[in-house]
């Protein structure tokens, strides 16, 4: 059985379900817009300090949207008992995990497609291809980690509490590197290339690590 076909089938199933029910993406998009709106009123952001504050606002909104998105990936499967049905097939748990992570990543990218234009609209900051690239790179590694912990806590009753506690510390490197990349892309000092290089390294590290761990988390 081809693990790539399994991963694509799992991701396709999740995306099709989301397209039909529209449970997650509209709510997350609203959440992001509201978060940006609150930041707009909460901080005294003007043209002088926008480039310093806006990257922080971007990562905060992205992190909390990500926690909700990744938390739902396995919780929904557990609630409808479909995760066990999947795991009782001969399909590789790693391929199933990869499919779930790809779908969660795609959903977060859909939210980012709302967030980045909203960011430019509310704060008047430049959101160019370099900002988009940095955010997309961070999303990959964050999705891999978020999905692994979502799978781990899905069978626990206090999963909404545990998921942030486990995930946030490991997302810090993405926030540091991603924050630096976005700040330099918005005109502050620093090396964009160095930050992007670090994000690529982190993506490779965490995609490999989570793939190795997924078998034990899902199968046991």
């Amino acid at each position: 059985m081809n693990p790539f076909r399994v991963a694509i089938a799992v991701a396709g199933k999740d995306l099709r379900s989301e397209w039909r029910t529209r449970e997650l993406v509209p709510a997350l998009a609203q959440f992001i817009v509201l978060a940006l709106l609150i930041a707009n009123f909460g901080f005294q952001i003007d043209s002088r300090n926008a480039n310093t504050i806006v990257p922080g606002v971007l990562w905060l909104a992205l992190i909390f949207a990500g926690l909700v998105a990744f938390g739902r990936t396995f919780a929904a499967e557990r609630e409808q008992a479909s995760l066990e049905a999947m795991l009782l097939t001969p399909a590789s748990p790693v391929a199933i995990f990869a499919g779930k992570a790809i779908a969660a990543c795609a959903l977060l990218v859909a939210c980012e497609a709302v967030m980045l234009p909203a960011l430019a609209l509310f704060f008047g900051t430049p959101v160019g291809a370099d900002v988009v690239f940095a955010v997309l790179l961070a999303t990959i590694g964050m999705a891999a980690l978020g999905c692994l912990f979502a799978a781990l806590v899905a069978r626990i009753r206090a999963r909404e509490l545990l998921l942030p506690l486990l995930t946030l510390p490991l997302w810090i490197p993405f926030i540091v590197a991603g924050g630096q990349a976005v700040q330099t892309a918005m005109g502050l000092s620093g090396s964009y290339e160095q930050a992007i290089g670090l994000l690529i390294d982190l993506d490779i590290l965490f995609v490999v690590l989570t793939s190795l761990c997924a078998r034990f988390v899902l199968d046991e």
Partner: protein
């Protein structure tokens, strides 16, 4: 030849003993009904046989393989219908089954055949959450037989099936080794020549069809 050999199967959920040293031997093509009150351990036993649950102690061999060390290899061999059907509500009956075709590594052309077998051809394109409970149960059964398993584990499959439950299950069980848990003694007696009775997690013996009817 014995297809299932379970020795001393025991399972604890925390401090609660759910299954207590149950032995089970099944030959190829044999059908056995598992009877017992609620909480007797039927579902626990069936989940262990389906390799969804590891027994706390005891050994289980299915098709000559250790069911827990080699459970991934065994999954081509097993079909399981549990209490929770595990369907995707937003997908149609066909899409649900096509998805599991990919996971089982079987061609999508099987979907038409199994929908026909369970009597859901007319509902093939309806979403799972728009099907009645009985139709969902049929879809769950269709998913379990998609890959033509040799060992079929059915946990109260007759729930919500309606008047033709016995006919449908007879068709589905034909040629397979089957473990069937049910509360319906008449159905058990009709479909299974052997019966295992559980009480408080313990086997209180096996019986032939005649004894169960009595």
């Amino acid at each position: 030849m014995s297809v299932v050999v379970g020795n001393g199967l025991t399972h604890w959920f925390g401090h609660q003993l759910a299954l207590d040293h149950v032995d089970l031997v099944l030959d190829a093509g044999e059908h056995i009904a598992v009877l017992g009150d609620n909480g007797a351990g039927k579902t626990t036993l069936l989940r262990i046989l389906a390799t969804a649950l590891r027994p706390t102690s005891g050994t289980l061999e299915i098709g000559g393989l250790n069911a827990h060390r080699e459970r991934r290899r065994l999954r081509h061999y097993l079909g399981h219908v549990g209490h929770a059907l595990g369907l995707y509500p937003a997908l149609s009956a066909t899409e649900n089954l096509e998805f599991f075709c990919e996971l089982q590594g079987v061609p999508r052309s099987r979907v038409r055949d199994v929908l026909e077998t369970v009597g859901l051809r007319a509902e093939a394109h309806r979403r799972a959450d728009q099907l009645s409970r009985g139709m969902q149960q049929r879809l769950g059964i269709a998913r379990a037989i998609l890959h033509e398993p040799r060992l079929l584990i059915l946990d109260e499959p007759d729930a919500s099936l309606g008047a033709d439950a016995a006919d449908l299950l007879t068709e589905v069980m034909r040629g397979k080794t089957v473990v069937l848990a049910t509360h319906d003694h008449a159905l058990a007696s009709r479909l299974c020549p052997r019966t295992l009775v559980l009480r408080h997690g313990r086997s209180v013996g096996t019986a032939t069809r005649l004894h169960v009817v009595k």
